[in-house]
Structure formats: structure tokens, C-alpha cells
Symmetry: none
């Protein structure tokens, strides 16, 4: 269910957040679904419960999940919309990367080809954690 990369700069809790968000936005997890408990998830990933607690806390703060103490943690009603909205910010990243590549003399065609490739392989690619931002 989760795929964690312990090496690499990206902290575990961020990976959990990102993958949870992707599962929501891609429909694997739906509003009302219950998330694995911190303890259960901590066993699955063999990570410390506190680390997962931190991940979940951040999802809750963003309004993506809601917790009912004693009952578990659930995906909120507007989770998908909230995430999609935040994902719009990725466009700014693409823009910035494109600017760098332009300056570096990389043809626009190559960049667009990369975009196409991403759209083609999305399922396979997205659930694997990326190795490390090369910037």
C-alpha cells in the first residue's frame, strides 16, 4: 500500500503524506474511507508510530482527513478537491524548471516530450518514490 524510500532526502512522513494524497486523488481512497491506524501503519512500514502520527497530523491540519479519537481516522469529504487545488502549485515548479532548461539550451521539444512521457506512464511512475530531486 505504501512504498517508502528510507535513503534520499525526503523524510518518511512527507512520503506518507504524498502517497496518501496520490491515492486519494487517483480514487484508490475515497471520502469516508478509514485510514490504517498509526500503530498498524507503523508495523506495515516498520517505522515509528510518532513518525506516522506526524504525517497524519499534517493531513488533518490540511483538512484532508478527520480523526475521531477512539474510532480511527477517515478521509474527509472535500479531500480530493483540496488536494487538486494544492497540486496546481506544481505548475509553478514546471514553469521554473522549464525556465532553467531553456537557459541551459535544452530544446522545448524535449521538455514537452518528457511531459507526454509522464502522462503516458502516470500509474507506474507515480506510486514509486522518486529518487531525488536533481536540482
Amino acid at each position: 500500500m505504501f512504498q517508502i524510500d528510507r535513503m534520499g532526502r525526503k523524510p518518511i512522513y512527507e512520503q506518507v503524506i504524498e502517497q496518501t494524497e496520490l491515492m486519494i486523488v487517483s480514487g484508490v481512497l475515497k471520502p469516508g474511507d478509514q485510514l490504517p491506524s498509526v500503530r498498524a501503519l507503523s508495523q506495515m512500514l516498520s517505522a515509528n508510530p510518532n513518525t506516522l502520527q506526524k504525517a497524519y497530523a499534517e493531513l488533518e491540519r490540511a483538512g484532508i482527513t478527520a480523526s475521531a479519537p477512539g474510532n480511527g481516522r477517515f478521509i474527509g469529504k472535500d479531500a480530493k478537491a483540496l488536494i487538486q487545488e494544492r497540486m496546481q502549485a506544481l505548475l509553478a515548479d514546471v514553469e521554473h524548471l522549464s525556465a532553467k532548461m531553456h537557459v541551459a539550451g535544452i530544446g522545448k521539444a524535449q521538455v514537452i516530450a518528457a511531459v507526454e512521457k509522464g502522462y503516458a506512464h502516470s500509474q507506474k511512475t507515480v506510486l514509486q518514490p522518486q529518487k531525488g530531486q536533481s536540482t
Copy 2:
């Protein structure tokens, strides 16, 4: 000459590296040009000399600069080519971002529009440090 952002996750030494590379690849700095000394730069940026030493060391390790002890530090002959090669890795980032956006339901057209925008404003954009990689 350098524009650094003290707040924000990207470490100062990485910002110095990136901006130096961008200045080389965009032709502002040419092979044979001399870089400011660690001490001089440390005053310009009011940053710790160790920090800049680290940045320069990494540039040197990558073969981008060469130091003639006692004479200063210069941009290497193949600097531009080396950097361009490394920048190819950015394509993988674009691909990964595209995959995420596909899953999030963001249209391919929007992504390509962002690419176009990046290619249009490259000069203005690139020298400003980006706020934070959302990935």
C-alpha cells in the same frame, strides 16, 4: 551577482552552486573567468565562509571550476557542457511531475502551457530563487 534566500528549505550553498551554474550555462560567466574569492563572496552575501567554501568545493569536484592555489578560482573549459549534461536530469523531474499532475486530473494542456511560460520568461525567472519545491 548572487541572490540568496536565507529562509526557505534550500541551503545557501546549493543556491550558490545553482546560480553559478546558471550563470555559466547562460553565458554570463565564460570559461577562464575568475570567480570571487571565498572571502570576498562571504562579504557580499554576508554568509559564513565555510558555507561558500562548501559550494566552491562541490563545483570543483564536479569539474566545473578549477583552482590555482594562490591565484584564485576559474571556470573550467568544459564547464558549460558538464552542466548541460547534468541538466538533462531535470527532464526526469518534469516527467515525474507530469505523472503526478495527470493522476491529479490536471490537464496536459495546462502543463504544456506552464512549459511555454517558462520558456518565455526564462531570464526573469531563473535568477530568482524559487520558493519551495512542492514535490
Copy 3:
């Protein structure tokens, strides 16, 4: 009869207590009236009987209700007075909130306007559980 919010910080048993008190103090429930049994209420709210047991126990401890074993649970004679007395403590909360707002530069007029608004809409407002005490 009861309106409970499962998400949100306020525990269910406190919500039951508070709403029971409000119904008493507002005259919806009168001394001698019988409360629903733990089992019945647990079905109505689809909540754990232990939770409601806890709520009732606290009401009883405060002298607001009295149970005749085997006969049910009834609202005590002085229930209203007792609750009103406890509600005086809310004045301290208002005072504390006012102090914070003063420091924050919020005008006294705005605070008083909020009080007026509360007094105007009391019926509608009070039976809905509040989202979260910001203090």
C-alpha cells in the same frame, strides 16, 4: 434529540452532557422527566454504551439527575439551578477571551456586537455543536 459531532475535539460524552444541560436549562426537559436509557440512547446515537454511561454518570455526580435503579433516570428537582450556577463560570471565559481580543487590537464594540448576536440567535445556535473552541 441529540446532535453529536463525531469528528472534532470535543468528546462525545461531553457533548451529551452539554446538550442535556442546555435542554434542561432552556425548559425542554423539566424536573421529573425521564431520560432515555443508556441502551436506547446508544442506539439513537449509534454510540458506544460506555460513552453514554459516562455522560450520565457525570450528570448524576453533579446532582443534576437521579437514577432509580430498575426504574430509569430522572431529572432532579434542582437541576436547573445547579446548571445555571455552573454556567456562571462561562463569564470567566468571556472575560478571558475579551482580554485576548483587546491585546489583539479587536475593538470592544465588535465583541459586544458578538454578544448581542449570540443573545439574538440563541435558540438556533445553541443546539448545534460548536466546531472548535479556538482558545
Copy 4:
């Protein structure tokens, strides 16, 4: 500088957040000021560094502070405005409390008197942690 109440429901990290915000909004702390380091504060309050880290992280997430790793943590430029905006939410609490008191038969005059009292004693009151929300 900080006044912590270890008993009572309100967690330490929330108390630190609240008191920091109050110090900012009341002008004791100004934009650009440096906050005590997590380690220093952890000694002052004889609390665990992680606890304070959590408090500071939340302030940062809200845009109230900014951290420069290796340099310390500073109060952001718009800190005061951000907090004031959030404090507007307290008006809703006042309104809700007022509604409850109306139902409980507490005179509006008493409530307004409490507001006045709060505005009068704000300095003394606000820096002391409140004992416990009576609701």
C-alpha cells in the same frame, strides 16, 4: 518569558503557541526578532526539545515565523496581521458562549460586564494561562 501550566488539558505546545502569538500581537515581539532556540527554550521551560519543536513548527506552518537552519528562527513580517486575522475567529466563540448564557438565563448585562472586565485587565490576565475551559 513563558508561563506554562503542566496540569490542565491544554497541551504544552499549544500554550507556547498561544503565548508566542500574544507576545507578537501585543508588540513584545516584533517582526525580525529572533525566537529562543528549541534547545534554549527547552531548558527555560524544562520541557523536551521535541515539544517545543512542535510548537515552533506550527507557528512556521502558519507563516508566523520563519526558520533559517543553522541560524535560528525569526518572526515573520506579517506575523501580527496573520494572528489578528485568526483572532477574529474568537468572536464566534463569544457569540456561541453568549447564546448559551442567554438560554441559561444569565443577563446580557452580566456578559457585557465580563467583556468590560476583560478589556480592563487585559495585560494582567492574558499572560497567565487559563485554568480550564469550563464548557
